[in-house]
Amino acid sequence: MVPSPPALELRGLTKRYDGGLLALDGFDLTIPDGAFFGLLGPNGAGKTTLISAVCNLIRVTAGELRVFGLPHDSLEARRMVGLAEQDVNLDRFLDVRETLVYHGGYYGMSRRRAHARAEEMMEVFDLRGKAGVRAPQLSGGMRRRLLLARALMHEPRLVILDEPTAGVDIELRTELWTYIRRLHEQGTTILLTTHYLEEAEALCEEIALIRGGQLLARDSADGLRQAYAADTLQDVYLRAMEVT
């Protein structure tokens, strides 16, 4: 049997912004199909730049990016990626249902299929009561739910969650964990960035530590603890980032 290509493969990924900032410097990373992968690092480490590169939101300076073996900028590759960004970026003119249905359209879903899937997503994320409410009128938690529902709307094989639980209450965080776990069990590859170390430890099979645009280490939480001779993931993180 031919092994399936990795969900994500980055080779020599380099991004230098117009102002001169080198955000990623020859970055290599492979995430297997079906993995639950965490990306940890301080602000400015390059996590969001990496995600933006995969999702075609920045111009890459150098390197190769492949999604399930396909060039990341091909239409087929884009169709397989779902992104929930760290910052809320919802269309202010659309209500919840419209946000989901138009997103489905952008990703090639028929109108009928998009409506049916939007109903499913609203049910899963408890958004049905807000179906006709425009994004600016939603609470912070509801906006976060809608961002996730939108990212999953087109049933992507690789879901990228950039700080999905930042600023949400414990109840919603637990709900989201449950849903993301279920999604992973169904075979979806998850790439998660988070500042909550306990979240990374509870959810991720493998964790990469990144700083200054470079990969410092990658392993399971246990493997990282052993490698850094640390008792907790927090100690690992602090040692890796040399802030102790």
């Binding site: 912004y17 117009d18 999702c55 075609n56 939101l57 920045i58 111009r59 239409l75 087929e76 884009r78 169709r79 990626v81 992104l83 960004e85 910052d87 970026n89 919802l90 269309d91 202010r92 003119f93 659309l94 419209e98 138009y102 997103h103 489905g104 359209g105 952008y106 990703y107 090639g108 879903m109 028929s110 939108r150």
Partner: protein, 258 residues
């Protein structure tokens, strides 16, 4: 047909979204410009028309209608696309489109068509009211259709380009207030450029909107200050330049992607 639709569902969805925005805000996007243009027709055409009998054999109230419609449509196409594109960048919901499996020309076209829908709605509404009020004829409908297409090409693309470059709402408003509106007024909307003394007559021929007004006027009245083909050619050339600029921005990602 269904295969074609399936291949371009992203484009159709984005066009639907842009049209949805225009229709959702119809009092601002359609009604307001229709009313302000009608006021021009009533105030300048019907009141001043009593004093200025004819220009080049055409009653004054009929003479100004084509230019006013062209001006309203051009401003609508431009401002719609500039504000929609800028808003999408400013709120970053354009990321949802840029990361989607859509070709760059589909994103460009989808963002452009909202302005075309808005401009056509305004043009049709103004025509529906102005034709019975003033009795302005449509002598060359095919020439008018070609002129309107050239207008839409130029100002829809210009709106998207400015929406991509703008750093604030003031920027795209400034292009409208400082460039488009004055050039439209000086482009012979209210007068025949042939009546101007030298050098103003020659200077007016450097104004690209002058040619747009003449092309649309020829479509309505069958007469214009310059040859229809020259007027259409200049308008199409401006449109092609704006469309090429817009296509280059989307193809390279410049200004859209850091």
């Amino acid at each position: 047909m269904s295969e074609l639709v399936a291949r371009h569902r992203g484009l159709l969805a984005l066009t639907a979204r842009e049209t949805h925005r225009v229709l959702k805000l119809w009092t601002q996007t359609i009604l307001a410009p229709v009313i302000s243009s009608l006021l021009f027709i009533v105030v300048f055409g019907l009141s001043l028309g009593g004093r200025i009998k004819q220009i080049e054999g055409v009653p004054y109230d009929q003479f100004i209608v084509p230019g006013l419609i062209a001006m309203a449509m051009a401003q609508a196409a431009y401002s719609n696309n500039a504000s929609s594109t800028f808003q999408a960048r400013f709120d970053r919901y354009i990321h949802d489109v840029l990361s989607a499996p859509m070709r760059t020309w589909e994103i460009n076209l989808g963002l452009s068509l909202g302005g075309a829908v808005r401009a056509l709605a305004i043009g049709l509404a103004l025509g529906a009211v102005a034709v019975p009020i003033t009795g302005v004829p449509v002598r060359e409908p095919l020439a008018l259709a070609a002129a309107v297409l050239a207008l839409l090409l130029a100002f829809c693309a210009l709106g998207v380009v400015v929406g991509i470059y703008a750093e604030s709402f003031d920027h795209h408003m400034a292009v409208n207030n400082v460039a488009i509106l004055p050039l439209a007024f000086l482009g012979g909307v209210f007068y025949s450029v042939d009546l101007l003394p030298s050098p103003w007559q020659e200077i007016s021929h450097l104004n690209p909107i002058f040619y747009l007004v003449q092309a649309v006027r020829y479509g309505f009245l069958g007469t214009a200050d310059v040859s229809y083909w020259l007027a259409l050619g200049v308008t199409l050339a401006c449109g092609a330049a704006c469309a090429a600029w817009s296509a280059w921005l989307f193809a390279t990602g410049k200004r859209l992607k850091p």
